[in-house]
Symmetry: C2
Subunit: 411 residues, 2 copies
């Protein structure tokens, strides 16, 4: 490639706090290697390419010396997102033609798509189509998801920060809980409908004085209400305040989510009104007649950039840089991945994997990371998780709130 | 007073992230002025005095050089809390006698009680009783509450940090929201059942690119569903994503809380299942047929010490120190208060006020801090709030999570 060609990058799926770090890595990598004339960004994912809504990111970085460093710590998608799924090429080939016409018109030689499972489906489809028409455009996926459920990578960019947010919050909730001398149960509901990685990360809240969460339930095991009640009852014999971490996706052995309509005595009506945490609150209250409250760790677990993992952000930048390097080698139809080289000391390298085994798959927590009774995670899980939440980036503040990058172009 | 006497301090009510900063101020002040032989702490509020559960805080500070600095940034109550309300002295005089006997036995010359409205009731009752028996023990209240609803003080310790947490979270939720190109409404429910100060602080999320929250509803005004729906509908004509900040305590003109049972089409059953945010979610969804979600800013708004206001923590320390100074002047039956000396530059002094006009009262948001339609706060509110969230303390981290003070003595 040479300086007369350009590259384009887009972001898709749900927010994380590291997805802009990967974007900054792409821009930084392309500028340092001086391999593209312009780094364009498509607004709102692949739809920005279909609608010709693009911005010049390398120009931005040249104009503003703080652009890349601020981009690295800004949460959610600087370029906006979309939930658009590419149609099958056999059904609507004109969509593909439109995209590759755009690439040609804009002298695009590489397209980088930062996203999760669905976005990797787009990478798979576009790279297959590109091959079929002998397009010179390289298509590369860069992973991101707080769910950590992508195959092909040791862990996903964005997960470490969400894990740090969850673990730190859990510790703070423990401080909030331990102040009263009365029997109580606190249920903390954590994101991750199909994969329990993020809920498992609550285990990292434990330290020399805090053993919470006392119980951890992941969607990789069927949730048994009676066992849970028995476990809580037993714990309450020895301890006043019990804290339980549950995934939003816990379900019974028939696959039914534990939600309001599942809760005991069935007074709850509209099941959409409440999730697993609220439902379990009522189940335990009815069974044990103790004070129970539920706390939903809200969207801040995926957008609370003020509490990010520096390890995560640095790795996310490296993933973006790696994508640029791969494009120079004409490697297409792949996803950048993180390879854990050594566990102690923790050291990773950035590699890549063929996209076909990754797109549309979900990587669940392996069974040996969960104890036999399904109410704890094992030390293997802790060893896996702990390095990912290390380090704190410097977050600039202005007027008392975080000073993130201006996103008015999305409004 | 002399070095042969002691003082005792306790904490009560709900958590804030600054209540330990005030505690550290008491210990620091007493040690610097060298006016008490020991600073004792009673565990779980006034009940610790009744049950003789105390610890020696000045010893702790002498043994561990980092004790006071770590205490300053540790959330919730290091000494634990209670919800115990002192009985009327006419009904159970023996409780009072027991407390003052304990004071005499332990050579206590000053009792400092850090808390909110209910705790100030304890200060009022104890100081009145003390006067009636000519006790030499000085009784002083130190305010704290995230609700900012105490009279006698410009603002309460703990409020500025909660306000910073709410404003920063709101900005991050805006980043999370603006990524999609589709009409959506996000409702953010904030604590404060009777007073809207904390919900009002969401206004500080506005910056050069973010105008959210687009609407702000406080419990100081009756909530009118039809007006709210009309306001949202009008805003959606010009803007894709609308963010609404509401207090958990919003209510209609008959005083009924906006909760699940109030929501349209009445399918919701159990009203305890959901608060104002969830109820308004369903109300707007039914009325406007757009994507609506609700986010409850959870207990982290009161215990998320990783995002505290340095101004708040410093003032809280100063309040603790002032309490010790007042005790040396034998000033009893008062609450320490913060006096705003100048607005620009913001400068405060620490004073005190008679407890009788403070206990059991609620300071609401004044009507001129809210616009005529009751869906915005005024610039007077912004001017009042802005100085309180300035500055970020250094929070130490260990193993990827905040390194707070060990609270195993509460377990």
């Amino acid at each position: 490639m040479n300086q007369k060609t350009n590259c384009i990058v887009a972001q898709s799926g749900g927010p994380t706090v590291a997805i802009n770090a990967s974007l900054s890595g792409v821009i930084k990598g392309a500028m340092q290697l001086n391999c593209f004339e312009n780094v364009y960004g498509a607004l709102n994912g692949i739809t920005g390419i279909l609608n010709h809504r693009i911005m010049n990111l390398s120009e931005k970085a040249k104009e503003d010396a703080s652009f890349l460093s601020k981009l690295k710590i800004t949460p959610a998608m600087y370029l906006g997102s979309c939930r658009y799924k590419l149609p099958e090429v056999t059904k609507e080939p004109e969509v593909y033609q439109q995209i590759f016409d755009f690439f040609q018109e804009m002298k695009i030689r590489a397209f980088f798509y930062i996203g999760g499972n669905d976005s990797m489906d787009t990478v798979l489809k576009l790279s297959s189509y590109g091959k079929s028409i002998d397009s010179p455009v390289v298509i590369i996926g860069i992973p991101k998801t707080i769910d950590n459920d992508l195959y092909g990578t040791d862990h996903t960019p964005g997960f470490g920060s969400a894990a740090k947010y969850v673990a730190s919050s859990l510790l703070e909730i423990a401080h909030d809980t331990y102040i009263y001398q009365l029997k109580s149960v606190t249920i903390v509901e954590i994101m991750g409908r199909d994969a329990g990685w993020l809920t498992a990360a609550s285990v990292l809240a434990r330290n020399e004085y805090n053993q919470a969460p006392d119980l951890i339930y992941l969607p990789e095991r069927d949730f048994n209400q009676e066992e849970c009640i028995a476990d809580v009852e037993e714990l309450l014999k020895h301890k006043d305040n019990i804290i339980i971490a549950i995934s939003e996706g816990i379900h019974d052995d028939k696959g039914n989510y534990i939600s309001a309509s599942q809760a005991s005595n069935d007074q709850f009506g509209h099941s959409q009104l409440s999730g697993a945490g609220k439902a379990l609150e009522y189940i335990i209250k009815d069974a044990l007649n103790v004070k129970v409250r539920s706390v939903e760790i809200n969207v801040l677990q995926r957008c609370g950039a003020h509490l990010s993992s520096l390890t995560d952000l640095d790795e996310s930048v490296a993933c973006g840089e790696k994508a640029v390097e791969l494009s120079l080698e004409n490697i297409s139809g792949v996803m950048v991945c993180i390879v854990r080289e050594t566990q102690s000391p923790y050291r990773c390298s950035i590699g890549y994997a063929d996209i076909s085994g990754i797109a549309n798959e979900v990587k669940h927590v392996p069974q040996n990371f969960i104890n036999a009774r399904g109410n704890q995670v094992t030390s293997e899980m802790v060893d896996y998780l702990l390095p990912l939440i290390q380090g704190e980036p410097e977050i600039p503040f202005k007027n008392g709130i975080p000073d993130y990058l201006n996103i008015s172009h999305l409004l």
